[in-house]
Symmetry: D2
Subunit: 390 residues, 4 copies
């Protein structure tokens, strides 16, 4: 801890369910384990329902609550707006926040359409010139094992990338009676597995390899086309109410792709992989080494070093809990694994560091736009039955 | 063992390298562990070089050797012709054998073109009416864990199939100096990873699910386009000679697919997955259960039973070495795993059983043709950049 | 959250390095995710060095700091004393706290000797009659997968326990130049791997099986008998200073055991298992089922149900992240794994619940004493080369 | 294959159930895949029942059958006697064979008592001086992954051995109605899990580390003390008949040990580890590297290289199917795994090689005696409740 008290960074957060809880934990926890150059202050939590928002603010540790995000983001004691709402409101809130001169952390997907994402990116570029910074929340980038994967590629230990295969597998919609939450409503969510989890798959592939997806050919499917309407109920899955309604998004998406470096990509995202809860599997095969990661065992990275003598070469199961690994020194001794929410804490650490340094945090809105364009190409490819360049 | 000595089944085998050694072992071994209704006699081994074929016949346990497959298949003491040559000679030998009234076991892929495969299938159908039977060698079907996978689907324990993902990953071409064997020559092999290993992937997917691939969109790639010419040298990889030549087949293939039951398929086959030696990974997600298999751990099937209470549900690591599992009772006690060549022995067991019973062995030439059509659609899809129905 | 604000539970914590950081996180975090019947207030942090303690209090989120634990535990705004110091001071602090009518949470091992542990247990029993409660911190009990293991045994799904094997494997002393921290000093730590990690192994075995270790035969070893003296440096391993000193504790311990239900136990604890960072492996084989757990994959429990049909029986890889699993509903959706520190948060949840209900929290000091007696028997058995009843 | 036909090695084998089938396969198969300096001839199979032995000879591929082992081993066309009977007849047959000037391959355990094993070792030493060679069948030594483990230790890549832990886990006696076969009869089998499978555990530990077990402290247990008498029925488990009888051997054995190099050993062998079929798990931790092996995944060795940079160090999952690995070049391409019986084939290869070269094959009878002495010490230690030096 420095001699002088770091300056305050006032935060307003919009949304307080799943992502809101995760972000709150990160804002609370980051300064307890890391030396931050600015001290985050949880100034105000914004939600739609006054009572529930007040209760959430108390439980999650925010000083105040509000139901008016526009007013909140104009408060002089707010320096940053953290957007944890469904995708249909990202653009409006983010644009207003940037216009008001506030830094922005926006959950993924950046927006529900490429057009919105483009507008947001332009606004972010413009704001950056004024020292106002924006970041999109592809949180999985900050799992230490993923950081190590990227580092190994960047150091050349994987060589030329030949193959990237990413599967994001969940199973919470297998039950045809699982209710019709906002995540299954095209108007709110933009798309289904594609925008929600394939977005992570694409971002991870591009982040780890340092390459871009340049073309795709894909297929989307909705296996269960009608579901019980959801009533209240927080959480990912909601609670079934009366009546039924149409599912207007994809349950699953799959696509083959080409990468900018000449390799092939295979992507799959689904909420129907029975038995796979949140399995984000990434595998990279290069001319010199290979990598494999599965979020179901998130503290481990598998690395095959093709330069090892063949008789003793094998995928190394690296337990990514050493002080040498990104972010880990701040936590526990080797072998004491981290969990899901740590990546959010790391996100806060990096974001606060970038703001203090006046540097563009990554993933930027532009990084989010790039992912959005890939998803859009997949959607159009699936409609047309044709390969599409991104 | 029955009271009466079973009748003799004279076998002529063409080809004596990798597949020839595996088939020879199977013909020798099957009657030692299984009660066969016919006793295979290894009558004659056919090859191109007289000296090497004679030596191979001695080492592999064949009574005679020959360099003339046409004569061999007309011998009255030959009842079955086992074709272990590269794909460009399959059609000619198989057609001649069937015409001569000999049963045929033909290694996969059935042929190098759909046209050849169609002709072979017609000939096989015709021969079947005369009691002459033909089978194609998709050997992996007869790994006990794969048999169990099919059985679980057939029993309804997986429910409606939502997803099939199959990866066949090898790495023997990662080295750009790996030589240009016949497997990299379009004239001999027909295609590369596509016909050699994606063929297995497609057959396994169809076999296990009992469904057909109905449409595909794919991509092929050749990462290393020129290699040292191969000299002599047996084995998969050969030995590099002088001079270089063009690789005329694909190094890797990937495609998304639709299945006849409404599910999605994702397929990948490559010889460039560094660190993966012969990893055939099959995963099926259904409405009621899921399955996962990896040939790198071939005695194991993972099964998730979606009807288990959620608190104690999990992928079961079934060690498929119980007497209750297909073929296993003939071998060892539980936990004493089988190896690669056992599937060939099981293939002989089933083939001899079918011949004795006068029943069509599976996979039939028609099964091989169905796979061939999928591969052909993938190839054309990759050329056109478009979805193609099979 | 209830309508009425829960009453305050003032906490004084002694010690602020590894365990202090973990406990602080738990006190901060528990009320954010769980509905607690009392609201913990981090009143005062106690350490030896005024400056470092003040700094730690600020970083870890305590209202005040102090260098005088005796005064701290007598404060009227302190209801509970949390002891995170080395084992040599546990007894003194705990006895004083109980005498002062404060609840106590004491890190394991309960004490450095059986005599001390007995005195503490008597004091705790006495205090309990006055409504003052004491708990020892065998935190791993509160990993959800361990809770599930215990539940499965308790429900009879494992049947009669035949075998328990527990290994606690670390490798932070493999390097002979790793410094001589207090953990290698018999005066401070009491013993080495035995008291530090075999203690966990014994407690886990007893907790999961619900049985007691009734006899042991063991061996201890110190592989590196002299090390560089440690200088300052926090963390598990410290920093090497000048000069060398003797290691006065065991590096590794191993023992066979009998359990009260007639089964056999095999225990091993070591800081010399190169490549194993914090691998706590527990396996239980019963007449009806088996369990396997490894802390290196802490969100998973493997369960073999011996009543499954043999053809589809296998160890189930249960991802213990369902709302049905202990503590999990308060956190994230399925598949979003927890980390090391979550068990500390769960410990706070249970402890606060017990205090509010006026019920004995477990593990009690008596549970700690029982473990201590096993460790003592192992130590004497190793000296005498004889089986000893506990 | 050499130019000149290798000389003949006539074999007589006694016993034709589980081990007999495995040995027969090895004698048949070795010359098909390996260039042997002598050509094994399966001259005569000896059993107790004339009819069943004749049938077995036909099925397993032996030229003749006999019910008189004494006559068989005196035949001039017999050069080697392969003993696959229960342990109570090993000494008698082996001594007679050596006396008759025949080489001997004797299944483990070498004998049912140390006294017998000593007599056999003396006889073998004596015979060796006359060029007559004897080997004991600790077959698991010749699994390629185990060979690699030994090689890595021998090359110094593991450093000083600190820990060896070996578990041999089976579950075929969990059912209390499993019948009372000869393996549960002290008179026939000598002991239970101890001699049958702990023998392998001890031999593997000593083989891989190159060290000896110098002292032990152990415990034995018989969980089910009465079982249905077995009737006919081949195989490991037999078939239950009428009536019940006492189990006179141990169901499970566990012991801690010291190794000649200063390390600690922990051993466990049981037939009551529900869900573990034939799990032979070996782990070695050294000052420089660690090894892990599990026969349930027999083509894999895990190796941790402590000299790797810590950030990328991890247990390497080496798929031991490369041409560089022992015995593998004779089989299949990389990734095409071997099975249980391959180790028997490798045993024949090495034995025939040693005989042709006139060199002592390993494991020798003396190696078998060393194991026997360890097992004997474990048994006495368990009786006395005391540490015993070997």
């Amino acid at each position: 801890m420095g001699q002088q008290e770091p300056a305050r960074l006032g935060v307003a957060m919009v949304g307080h369910s799943f992502m809101g809880a995760a972000h709150s934990h990160a804002w609370r926890t980051a300064p307890r384990f890391f030396d931050l150059p600015l001290t985050p202050a949880r100034a105000v939590l914004v939600g739609r329902d006054a009572g529930r928002t007040r209760e959430a603010a108390s439980r999650l540790g925010w000083d105040e609550s509000s139901t008016d995000w526009r007013t909140a983001l104009e408060r002089p004691d707010v320096d940053l707006v953290d957007i944890c709402t469904p995708g249909d409101s990202h653009a409006e809130i983010a644009l207003a926040a940037l216009a008001a001169g506030k830094h922005v952390l926006c959950e993924k997907p950046l927006a529900n359409s490429v057009a919105e994402a483009e507008a947001m990116t332009l606004a972010a570029d413009d704001a950056a010139r004024r020292g106002v910074l924006a970041m999109v929340g592809f949180t999985y980038r900050r799992v230490p094992a993923v950081q190590l994967a990227r580092q190994l590629v960047a150091e050349g230990r994987v060589g030329e990338v030949r193959h990237v295969r990413v599967q994001y597998l969940q199973d919470w919609l297998v039950d045809p009676e699982a209710p019709l939450t906002w995540r299954l409503d095209r108007g709110r969510a933009g798309s289904g597995a594609l925008g929600d989890i394939a977005a992570h798959a694409v971002d991870l592939a591009q982040f780890v390899t340092g390459e871009l997806v340049t073309g795709v050919s894909g297929v989307l499917e909705t296996f269960v086309r009608e579901r019980p309407v959801a009533t209240g109920g927080a959480g990912l899955t909601g609670v079934a109410g009366e009546g039924r309604g149409p599912v207007t998004v994809d349950d699953a998406a799959a696509f083959v792709a080409r990468l900018s470096g000449g390799g092939l990509g295979v992507f799959e995202a689904t909420r129907f992989a029975l038995g796979r809860k949140n399995a984000i599997r990434l595998e990279v095969n290069g001319s010199r080494g290979s990598l494999a990661f599965d979020f179901e065992d998130m503290n481990v990275l598998h690395f095959y070093d093709g330069t090892d003598p063949v008789a003793i070469a094998g995928f190394r199961r690296i337990v990514v809990t050493e002080a040498e690994h990104a972010f880990v020194a701040a936590w526990w001794p080797p072998g004491h694994g981290l969990g899901y929410e740590h990546a959010f804490t790391h996100q806060v650490v990096d974001l606060v560091g970038s703001i203090a340094a006046g540097e563009q945090p990554r993933p930027s809105f532009r990084d989010g736009l790039v992912v959005q364009r890939v998803l859009d190409a997949v959607e159009r490819s699936a409609e047309k039955g044709a390969w599409l360049d991104v």
